[in-house]
Subunit: 334 residues, 2 copies
């Protein structure tokens, strides 16, 4: 396969390079595409130095798979071009996610929907992916009535400037200097910001509405009651989610653990008596979505609380995109 990564020098783009290698993805050639700023950079892939090329309409000649992770405006401009030139596009931006003609895929949840694509497949938002990986198998067995989720999202979800901003602010505080900020509107070091992406008219952020709308689309339940509060926390990598779920059918923590354990892509870490529960720093670099703190919610019938953590750069972005590509190859769709 001739593979192109658009946004190859970003945090997700670099993770994509790593994961293509780790998973022995059938790469014949790899093209690394980025903006003018990255001209002259090189990355090593399977022993070869690959130069970063500046993205243009000509970048997609003889490309089989184009993995986009360079923001919605780049995707809007170049994904259709890549697709016209014959590449299967897997887009990690929000550009096409809610487009009814574009499948929004989490391979553990709705793989079959991928095959009806018209050349572009969307990769969901990071915080949505780890949520639906855990919700879908529980829904199949116990039927979800409503989901209330609160997220604890790491700065790498914003990008490397945000990682640098957190590091820089911690250093400024250590040195007693004034804290400067440019990525977030408020200091992120030692703080929590209930603000991810832009605010909408209805009082929600775009991130919160992504969680609502993308969850519904991926699970194929257009009116699934979901509400979200998304919060940025001073963590480098790994998103955590506190999730309250009401079910139609009787559920117990043991049944939920059993169903989750038997489901792909999930690792249950739930032995609180041994201080074992998922925490973001333990999930960095891992593929699974980790679930713990599973317990009955005594405030409502057939309800559970749980805690879901995953590496937002991997399952939340790069890994899920590459799993979509694998799915297309395996099924003969590329």
């Amino acid at each position: 396969m001739n593979v192109a990564i658009v946004g190859a020098t970003g945090m997700v783009g670099i993770e994509m390079q790593k994961i293509l290698d780790e998973r022995n993805f059938p790469v014949d050639s790899l093209r690394l595409l980025a903006s003018e700023r990255s001209r002259g950079r090189n990355f090593s892939f399977r022993g070869k130095q690959i130069p970063v090329e500046v993205l243009s309409g000509e970048s997609f000649l003889s490309i089989d798979i184009a993995l986009f992770s360079a923001g919605a405006s780049i995707s809007k401009e170049f994904a259709p071009i890549a697709s016209e030139r014959g590449a299967a596009v897997i887009d990690n931006s929000s550009a096409f996610r809610m487009d009814p003609d574009v499948p929004l895929i989490v391979p553990e949840v709705n793989p079959d929907a991928a095959f009806a694509n018209k050349g572009i497949i969307a990769n969901p938002n990071c915080s949505t992916i780890q949520l639906v990986v855990a919700l879908a198998p529980l829904h199949r067995r116990f039927v979800i009535k409503r989901v209330v989720v609160t997220t604890f999202q790491s700065v790498s979800g914003t990008g490397k400037e945000a990682v640098e901003e957190l590091k820089g602010q911690v250093r400024q505080i250590e040195e007693g200097k004034p804290v400067t900020k440019s990525v977030y509107p408020h200091q992120i070091a030692y703080n929590c910001l209930p603000h991810i992406d832009e605010f909408l008219e209805n009082g929600y952020t775009k991130e919160e509405m992504k969680m609502v709308n993308e969850t519904r689309k991926i699970m194929g339940i257009p009116d699934l009651p979901v509400t979200a509060t998304t919060v940025r926390v001073p963590v480098f990598v790994g998103h955590s989610e506190s999730v309250n779920i009401e079910f139609e059918k009787r559920i117990t923590p043991d049944l939920a653990r059993q169903v989750l354990n038997d489901s792909p892509g999930i690792e249950v870490v739930d032995e609180p008596e041994k201080n074992l529960y998922p925490v973001p720093i333990h999930c960095v670099g891992k593929d699974a979505t980790f679930v713990g703190r599973i317990r009955l919610d005594f405030s409502r019938e057939n309800s559970l609380n749980m805690w879901i953590v995953s590496d937002n750069l991997r399952k939340g972005a790069a890994l899920n995109a590459i799993q979509i590509a694998e799915l297309l190859i395996k099924s003969g769709n590329i």
Copy 2:
């Protein structure tokens, strides 16, 4: 008033000294009590140096008000002694909170319950206080059916060793050294731990059950449906809470804002279009409970999401205790 602070050298004890002064509390004498380890320390109060004394049964002679903040076992041993010697005891530990003979008081919520005390009044858990300050006025007007809360709690809630542990771990990471830990079972720097206080048989932590049980007791609704997930985050001071509330009656964000604005101890900060919402670092050193991100929860009728932040050392502990003392003085109960 002759005032004693038990646990005077802890973070809450020091905050109590500061707040007694700030609020012009009528202090005739101040006795600072702590363990053997603090012998020889002095604190300046209103221009006088006050030596720290080692706590003993004799410490409470001629004390009018004893403010306890030295942990449950110290309170269990010494609060009854202080009370017998005639001091009005306000206890910030968990020792007596659920004792049916001990009122559990948030002055904005259930001041009248304070007067039925038998010598000891309990100060609620930090995360509970800021929650009920916001819930109570909304309940009076719209009748709460259920509360789902997820907390983001700062390390100062654990104490100064935890503040030092966070600082130390950040330094170790900066210097590329191995991270050491003694207060928390996992690294707290750049991490989130869904674990506050001990785990119970039912899968909840004690902190989570405190939020459930204390909220019910303070609000006087023994079966109020409440469920909680409590999480420690790398923040120094200030607890944040993501709260989902279902009401009996029709509610709108504007009505909620109006009711909260008109309620004591609350400041509504809710102009997301200007990036204005409560964040912990802005609440440090302030008395109010700050509420923002108030919006309709479209997943259920008559439901809201909101975000509540307060200084856990002040309203969550020292300030609330001193407000209870003020309430007793004002009503002639001391």
